[in-house]
């Protein structure tokens, strides 16, 4: 008998614009000691599903229309609020995506760990403390007895996620719900957390519902998979069967659109290659399978002449931030965010800059285009040296070098229409003849990035993340630059959207002969984009060279760790894990 049995769950949201069927009749079972991966892109209803089980759906506008969720003969959906509260945290625990914000910064770790015990077991905080320490040790925090008294900010992101897990598990729950628990973490930390969850499952026999948009992650951890799309489970089965023999076109698309370390695609397949969504006349949608056309164009060979100069050459770049001592006295201590970085890129090439958060890759990118003043070093762009140029003298170069940021939600001014966003740079730099010409150019830009001309008078909030990132690309292109820095440009996106944006970037590179620095923590993405690659660690470049060669033959230990940490989703790896 399964531990949790969800039957025909329907959670709808009643908004002013009509009913949104966030979860529309899904059923699944969770066996004791199993890890169930629920996979889907944002908006597919995967989070709403578990929130419904936990009674965390805001009502109104949400309403659970139908269904049952049986646990020990009790229906989680209909039982009294007090009963549910007793279950929540005691028998079902939950961890969230962002470990930076899910711990209270003003309370010590010890207080936060003991709190569930005080609430659910009426324990004395003093007596409960040893249990908290024991739990911290279990999730792999060294010197737990001392560190239990620290505050959250004294822990790194991965450590905080461990603390979150410890907090969730301290009451010995039977079910742990993990909502994108590794999405905000670096690959190496992600690998550690996944390993930890598997160990805890083996040791404690808990069941886990693991929610993610990343099929690679579930391949690494789950026993069973449910694929969600538009509020419905379109396919479910064991991890091996899904990866070996996906039936639903959406699953096929989702599997194909992930850039992988062992593939040599030049264009990524997208979900749209596999699946056609047809709006029928009565407002319903119908999914139709398509035969994908996976013909790959010949990879263009990028030959460099012997006497060709690199477009951009950076030598011994350093950015030091002073540790501020007081208002009047400059402290001599500095943080060396970038410490002697040298790079060179030829025209039309892509340099992948890889490293974990805090390694200085973002600062390097910003220093190159002088958003941050470099402390030392040389930046040659074309024939000019940029390092000593004052802001006013940078103006002509702003036209030639652009940047695309990670968060498409934050990088567009919410109060400007698309037209204003796109025409303003032209206006500042004197491009185009008059407002009408600039508007025509804006239309052309929108079409080039795959958006409609009719969007011109809309505001950014009306668009999805992927559309907004296209918009950011369009804005960067408005000045017709030669060189673009893509700073984690696809890191915040679902894999299916990521594939589209990556394809767009490559297509634009070919058409406009663009040169990119592609900054990312995701090696498989860099592998897809880059010709040459530089691996950064603690402000320095530890390995640099041809991307393909580095992947196959990493020289430095750190590079090897990074490559190994990428989730293994090959069938062999899955078979080896589940013993199929």
């Amino acid at each position: 008998m399964p531990l949790l049995e969800v039957d025909n769950l329907k959670t709808w949201f009643h908004t002013r614009d009509g009913v949104v069927r966030a979860v529309d009749g899904i059923s699944f079972e969770l066996e004791k000691g199993n890890i169930l991966g629920i996979v889907g892109e944002s908006g597919s209803g995967k989070s709403v599903t578990v929130h419904s089980l936990m009674g965390l759906v805001p009502q109104p506008p949400g309403r659970i229309e139908d269904g049952a969720a049986q646990m020990d003969g009790r229906d989680l959906l209909t039982c009294a609020a007090s009963e549910l509260r007793a279950l929540r945290g005691k028998r079902i625990a939950m961890i969230f995506q962002d470990p930076m914000t899910s711990l209270n910064p003003y309370l010590r770790i010890s207080d936060q760990l003991v709190e569930p015990l005080v609430i659910h077991e009426d324990a004395n905080p003093k007596v409960a403390l040893p249990r908290a320490i024991e739990m911290l040790e279990k999730v792999g925090i060294r010197d737990a007895a001392e560190r239990v008294h620290s505050y959250p900010h004294e822990f790194s992101g991965g450590m905080r996620q461990r603390v979150m897990i410890a907090m969730a598990l301290i009451t010995n729950p039977e079910i742990l719900i993990a909502d994108e628990p590794t999405t905000a973490l670096d690959v190496t930390v992600q690998a550690q957390i996944l390993r930890l969850l598997k160990e805890l499952r083996d040791d404690l026999g808990i069941s886990v519902i693991f929610i993610t948009h990343d099929l690679g992650v579930v391949a690494e951890i789950a026993d069973d998979i449910a694929v969600m799309y538009r509020g419905k489970i379109v396919e479910q089965g064991s991890v091996l069967s899904i990866f070996e023999n996906p039936r639903h076109p959406y699953t096929k698309g989702l599997l194909a659109c992930r850039p992988r370390l062992d593939s040599t695609f030049t264009i990524l397949p997208t979900v749209a290659d596999y699946l056609e969504v047809i709006e029928t006349t009565d407002g319903e949608t119908e999914l139709r399978e398509k035969q994908p056309d996976l013909k790959q164009p010949e990879p263009e060979s990028k030959v460099v002449d012997d006497n060709e100069e690199p477009l951009l050459e950076v030598r011994d770049l350093a950015v030091h931030f002073p540790v501020r001592a007081s208002l009047w006295r400059r402290s001599s201590e500095v943080v060396k965010a970038v410490d002697g970085v040298s790079l060179s890129i030829y025209r039309g090439h892509t340099l992948g800059l890889v490293g974990e958060s805090g390694c200085g890759k973002t600062t390097t990118g910003r220093a190159i285009i002088k958003l941050i003043e470099p402390t030392a070093g040389e930046i040659r762009f074309g024939r000019d040296y940029l390092q000593h140029l004052p802001p006013a003298a940078m103006l002509p170069f702003r036209k030639r070098m652009q940047i695309i940021f990670q968060d498409p939600y934050a990088s567009l001014n919410p109060r400007l229409t698309l037209e204003q966003t796109l025409t303003e740079p032209m206006q500042v730099h004197g491009l185009g003849e008059g407002p009408n010409d600039r508007r025509d150019r804006a239309v052309a830009l929108l079409e080039e990035v795959g958006l409609e001309a009719a969007f011109l008078r809309r505001y950014p909030h009306e668009f999805s993340g992927g559309q907004r990132q296209r918009l950011c690309v369009a804005r960067a292109l408005a000045l017709e630059p030669e060189f673009i820095i893509c700073d984690e440009a696809v890191s915040a996106m679902d894999v299916s959207v990521q594939a589209q944006v990556l394809n767009l970037l490559r297509e634009l590179q070919q058409r406009r002969d663009l040169t990119y620095i592609f900054i990312s923590h995701d090696l498989s993405v860099v592998k897809f984009m880059a010709d040459t690659m530089a691996v950064m660690q603690a402000g320095k470049i530890v390995e640099q060279g041809d991307a393909e060669i580095i992947y196959h033959n990493p020289v430095v230990e750190y590079t090897r760790t990074l490559i190994e940490a990428v989730p293994q989703d090959s069938l062999d790896a899955i078979r080896a894990r589940v013993g199929g």
Binding site: R398, Q402, A410, N413, Q420, V428, R457
Partner: protein, 294 residues
Amino acid sequence: MTAAPQTPEGASLWRDAWRRLSRNRMALFSFVVFTLITLACFGTYGYLWATGGMDATGGDLAKNFQPPGSAHWFGTDDHGRDVFIRVLVGGCISLAVGFLATAVSLVIGVTYGSVAGYLGGRTDAFLMRIVDILYALPFVIFVILLMVMFGRNFILMFIAIGAVEWLTMARIVRAQVMALKNTEFVEAARALGYSDMRIIFVHLLPNMLGPIIVYASLTVPAVMMLEAVLSFLGLGVPPPMSSWGVLIKDGAEKIDVYPWLLIFPALFFSLTLFSLNFIGDGLRDALDPKSAKD
């Protein structure tokens, strides 16, 4: 969603805001009420001034403390003056002080605060210490000082109040700018080569309108009350001129016996503040593209 035309017309924040505001009934109604009050006040003032009827405010002592009736709609006060006329004429002073001082504080506060917040570092520290020093200056002593130096002058009151009210506005704006200036759209603007002034006034300012409008709509009544305090101390409008603040204070002293002396100016005062609040709320919503659906 309707089908959009092939060549879309230009849209801008202000044009869209106006369209949204014109659909907000409460804001429109408030706007009408507010306009009527303003017109009545300044119209009466202008009429009395033009016909030389200002003397009528002198009143008739024999008819003092008459309750509201057909002869005197709002009754009469201790000097036998018509309260209706006094409320309308007093409104001129209150509205003028309220709006001019708020405008002064808006202009100085927003400019000062955004420059300090955007430039940061030592410039910010220096500019903000000046604000702290001005905060520490006792307001009444500051006003007396001004009077001593420049003589008793109506204009001085605007300057005095404006000079004090912008301080908080500057702090609010500075905090907003500091929160916004590290967002990626500001960095993108810098990468596109926009000037600092352009970034502050085109990109940052529209994103801070919410708190600015809310604070400004709180400043207007605060300033009106401040004017009443000054007048009470003999530093504001000289008698027999009046303002809502002065009338309310006088009325409050006689509330047990002659309630109409308080009720009518207070009614006008609250009506104005209510409508200002609704207009402010409406403006704030209208200026936020996210708040309304097309």
